[in-house]
Symmetry: C2
Subunit: 310 residues, 2 copies
């Protein structure tokens, strides 16, 4: 069974971990958002890519969902002492990832090549693909002006009100090598419970991606549960963009792209209206508090793809 | 009393520590070699400058003479895991120095400004000046071809045979602001027991420096003791450049620049011949094993500058 998953950061990483525990390593390809990548302290930082790779490599910090476990913070402490910006927390082990990636990018190597090598070093058997080797940047148009994504997300704790989102560089970006093949060759495509606006929209906007997803057996897991986002600003963005946040709103957002949507038990009330959109609702527990939850959700999604497909 | 000291790395840092313990902070300016600075892993690294600043700030590693005490090595360990070059050891705390310096240099700030701010953050009360704000690089012409200094010194453990040394960029470099003023206003100028060829020669070669040094009350401390270097390749370089290494050879090298040379008790036999070169020999213990040694040597040198000058 070949599965391609589209993922952002923490939510995507959790489901990817569940899928990785159920599938053989060569059965899973994770295509990861890179539109929130940014340059900081002279380093190229790819938060979603690292979160997914660290999770799959078993070297992530389970408490935060991002960064490394067994981490130290001595470089950061000394950077603070020297007056450097410290709002984006970089642990000592994590720093090595950004340093070596930056060094290799500066040598002209492709992000997808570097990522494949890093995965090999970290013991990640699954294939993890950045969505593109080109530079794309999410810009949040807010009531306080344009903000880079990490500025909005981390430094400002997503407090500014979002009016629109644009992706600089996306118009000239191409999917990374193997992205379209992975989608076209997949027995199932899973849109992880990541932010639709900032995590999955940029992947879907790459040439050929949306049509490959909508042509396949595509199933999304709603990142909105009971009208709220599990983590991050997804629900707040729905509100600010004029849409009441709900599993149904997610279904409407992905209409024409997905053929099924996994919604949480708590959102069972939306099943009929989602069904009327031509999207099959699958109701189960979607909260991933622990490893058992992640495994269970992965099983449910995969079962639906293999046996429940109509 | 105003003292200006010219320093390279470990030997210079040790004497600077001794001088700092004896003098008031505003009495000491240390002018530090930057010709062995280099770019590595995307970072601008200034080994001598950091060694001197860390020593004066009481945050150096006394066991190695370079780097930070209370250091961790997690970034380096992970860099190694990712296949990055690890021959130049960068601790996690130390990394912050290079990162923030590189960030500020890339903003167009001067190394001397950055160094002054770092010293304030580290509680270094003495003035530490990079010899220049311009980029200079030491190139070792060896029997194995041209090597960058750190490549020769750290990666190759100074094993290749040196034929000549050149300093790329030195022809267009100017002394950093305050360097010439510090030398001209000094009651005494001390050439620390650093490598004459690679640590002090580039400082002396900057426009105006050698004439300021030779016009002042200038005293060097021989880095050659009993025909050997305390640390590093100084003695080996003398041999390879065709000069038997000795305190006398140091005197000949600095002839016309210094007016006195501190030599170790073990080299008392050279006193008469050094004297015949027109350089006053001062004989004492010059080995700095511990804090007491550093203080004693600093006292000896300063006593000579104040009372022993003829």
């Amino acid at each position: 069974m070949k599965i391609a998953a589209l993922a952002g950061g923490v939510g995507g990483a959790k489901l990817a971990q569940g899928l990785a525990a159920v599938l053989g390593p060569r059965e899973l390809t994770v295509i990861v958002n890179t539109a929130d990548d940014f340059d900081h302290l002279g380093l190229r930082i790819c938060p979603d890519l690292d979160t997914v790779c660290y999770a799959l490599g078993g070297i992530s910090n389970p408490a935060t969902g991002w960064g490394r476990h067994d981490e130290t913070w001595n470089a950061m402490a000394e950077l603070g002492r020297l007056g450097a910006p410290t709002w984006f927390r970089l642990g000592d082990r994590d720093l090595a990832t950004h340093m070596e990636r930056t060094r290799r990018l500066n040598l002209g190597q492709a992000l997808s090549t570097i990522t494949a090598d890093f995965c090999a070093a970290w013991g990640v058997g699954q294939r993890v693909l950045p969505m593109t080797d080109d530079r794309v940047a999410s810009i949040l148009e807010t009531d306080e002006g344009d903000l880079d994504f990490q500025e909005y997300f981390v430094q400002r704790a997503f407090q500014p009100r979002v009016r629109a989102i644009r992706f600089s560089g996306l118009e000239n970006a191409a999917p990374a090598p193997a992205v379209l093949d992975a989608l076209q060759g997949a027995d199932g495509i899973i849109l992880c419970p990541s932010n639709p606006f900032v995590s999955l929209a940029p992947i879907l906007a790459l040439p050929g991606v949306q049509s490959a997803v909508s042509a396949g057996r595509s199933i999304a897991v709603s990142p909105i549960v009971g009208g709220r986002a599990i983590k991050g600003p997804a629900a707040k963005m729905f509100v600010e963009l004029g849409i009441p946040p709900s599993a149904q709103a997610v279904a409407e957002y992905y209409k024409g792209i997905i053929r099924a949507l996994v919604i949480d038990d708590i959102d069972a009330v939306h099943a009929a209206s989602i069904s009327r959109l031509g999207i099959l609702p699958l109701i189960c527990n979607t909260l991933m508090h622990d490893r058992a939850d992640r495994l269970q959700l992965a099983h449910q999604v995969l079962n639906f793809l293999t046996s429940g497909w109509q």
